[in-house]
Amino acid sequence: STQAPGSSGATASASQSGGSAVKAKIFMAPKFTGLAYFEVARKGGEQAAKDLGIDFKYIGSDKPEASAQIATLTNAIPQHPDALVVSAIDGDAVAPALEQARQAGIKVVTYDADAAVTARDIFVNQLTYELAAKTMLDAALLNSPSGGLVAFISASPSAPNHAAHVKFMKQLMDTDPKYASLKYVSTVQFAGDDATKSQEIARNLMQAHPDLKVIISSSAVSAPAAEQAIIDAGKGGQVFATGVALPSSVRDFIKSGNSKAFMMWDPAELGYIATVAADELVKGTITGKEGDIVDAGAAGKYTVGKDGEVDYNKPLIFTAANIDKYQF
């Protein structure tokens, strides 16, 4: 047989708790623990838990490895949570574990990084890849209004969101007249979310391309680290790093005038919405089909789109004018 024994029993117990007045039990699993970004998203989840009366737990390994996350998820299932809120470190690899969870009656919401479509009910996407790409290029133009040469730093060759961002940015620069002033270095460098490595690459990129104007990274570790390297190399204000960054890690750069803009979204709100969506799935107010509406109160209402995707799509560009508004 290909069916895990005992999983049907789990279904029964999970559906009993659904819909009743019992507190929903929701686990949030980031890619891995210890990263400030996920910690901010966790706060959002905890806020939602407070607002909606959810039994909320934050689980995960501190190892940035797919197998570690799979272990975490596998061991979450027997604890019978009502829902899992997951940022998938490897969307395909965790899919079987998530499918197993769904078979056991557990609702699955992904946030930040999606898993295979069949493995989850809803994906709360912070930004569509294309919008993220656009926003990053906008931030690049804010830094270097006259355009110039752009280079990319990604996390790893196997991070699908980074790869998609780069693909769209290249496309936009090639086709969109708005970004025509920007050119790009075709080879992507990889820093594995490591600050030291990011700095080394930033320095080497500046050497490799004397006319380099902007380094873009969708890694919240690499972008600030690259900016730091630029400043330390005495190129602050001439070369710019931008891309995804927590405001707390770039506040000094922006205030000192070395950098004009970074971008992100509000991870707390993202975590909030994802948790709310999970709760609504558990309660049965939504099922995850196209057209359902996730009502996250003050955080807004979002319509479920194709393939269960909910687009949060509220990019933030941090500039000297607004950075103090964002305390995360």
């Binding site: 623990t33 210890g34 990263l35 400030a36 996920f38 910690e39 501190d62 060759p157 270095v185 075709s186 080879t187 460098q189 990889f190 979310d193 490591d194 600050a195 030291t196 700095q199 080394e200 690459i201 320095r203 080497n204 990129l205 500046m206 050497q207 490799a208 004397p210 570790v221 600030p224 680290a225 730091q228 400043i231 330390d232 190399a233 005495g234 927590l246 707390s248 890690s249 506040r251 000094d252 750069f253």
Partner: protein, 347 residues
């Protein structure tokens, strides 16, 4: 049975003197230099900008941190052991020390001192596990790698120490240029020379070489293996803790993963630099050159616009090539040696 005879043929003696010994060991350092020169020639031919002053500086800056940690690692490798926990010590020192300093400003002037204390304690724990509890070093420091890193993560709680919280002098140092060269490069040069000098002229250093060359002989000579090994680990720990501060200041936003995984790069630098993984031979200068070789490879491949995969493959090949040269030299030393006992420990 009292015939007076010539011992070993004179010409054999000469042969031994040339093939064995110092010549070969010295050639080892020249080997790294030659490899570096070859890299530079190739890269310059492919990308003329490679040899520009700005680029050279960039390479040296990258190499500086690695070279310093490698100098510490060399102390341990010379004793025939390994320290896989240096990255964790760096991360722990950087995060905890800077965080303490930003929480309790009275500590700010003592940041360096606090880091040294951390280095001594963490290094001594490693040394104790290896020398007293006799846990093979690779196992012991694999354990402390996890434990020290676990401690930082525990302490950090996913928070970052941001650039603004760092002491001003540390930030200044990270971007300072002295005589047109980054302060870190000067610090690295100073540290490598200092460690090299200490290894060469302090009894402490000579005992490290002696112990690593033949631990059994050291035992017979009454050298305390415990003191020597713990001393080497403390040296490596203190250097790692101090360099952690430098790296932290350089990175700016410090999270609990700072320097995670750097131990393999450091080990690669040491191995490429011709420090024998069997202990007893090699210099910190070689290890520093090894760091420069690694930095050069990374830099050159970025300049060439080569994909990440090739960097991994190229670096791996460089490591294997370096140890191959090392083994050749080692074999010469060995072949020139009494097979019976003297080199037995190293084979």
């Amino acid at each position: 049975m009292t015939a007076s005879v010539q011992t070993v043929p004179e010409r054999l003696k000469e042969r031994l003197q040339i093939s064995g010994g110092s010549a070969a060991l010295r050639i080892r350092f020249m080997g790294v230099l030659a490899f570096q020169a070859l890299l530079m020639v190739v890269f310059t031919a492919l990308v003329p900008r490679f040899i520009g002053w700005g680029n050279v500086q960039s390479i040296l800056f990258t190499a500086a941190i690695l070279a310093m940690v490698a100098a510490g690692q060399t102390l341990v490798v010379l004793t025939g052991n390994l320290d896989l926990s240096v990255g964790s010590i760096m991360g722990l020192s950087a995060y905890v020390v800077y965080d303490l300093a930003s929480q309790a400003p009275v500590l700010k002037p003592y940041v360096v001192l606090v880091a040294i204390i951390f280095g001594v304690v963490l290094g001594a724990i490693n040394g104790f596990l290896v020398a007293v509890l006799e846990i093979p070093s690779i196992v012991a420091t694999l354990g402390t790698l996890s434990v020290y890193r676990g401690f930082v993560s525990f302490y950090a709680h996913a928070r970052e120490v941001s650039v603004g919280e760092l002491p001003q002098w540390a930030r200044h140092l990270a971007s300072a240029n002295w005589l047109g060269v980054s302060a870190y490069v000067w610090l690295a040069v100073a540290l490598v020379l200092l460690v090299g000098f200490a290894l060469r002229t302090l009894p402490w250093g000579r005992k490290i070489y002696a112990y690593g060359s033949n631990p059994r002989a050291a035992y017979y000579y009454g050298l305390s293996s415990r003191r020597i090994v713990i001393g080497a680990y403390i040296g490596a720990g203190v250097i790692a803790a101090l360099v952690g501060l430098l790296l932290g200041a350089q990175v700016g936003n410090i999270n609990s993963l700072l320097a995670d995984g750097i131990e393999l790069q450091v080990l690669a630098a040491v191995v490429i630099g011709g420090v024998s993984i069997w202990g007893g031979s090699g210099t910190v200068y070689g290890a520093a050159m090894g760091a420069i070789v690694l930095a050069t490879i990374n830099n050159g491949l970025v300049l060439l616009g080569v994909q990440e995969f090739y960097r991994l493959i190229f670096q791996g090949a460089a490591i294997v090539a370096a140890v191959a040269v090392d083994a050749l030299v080692q074999r010469r030393v060995q072949s020139a040696t009494n097979r019976r006992a003297i080199m037995e420990v190293t084979s």
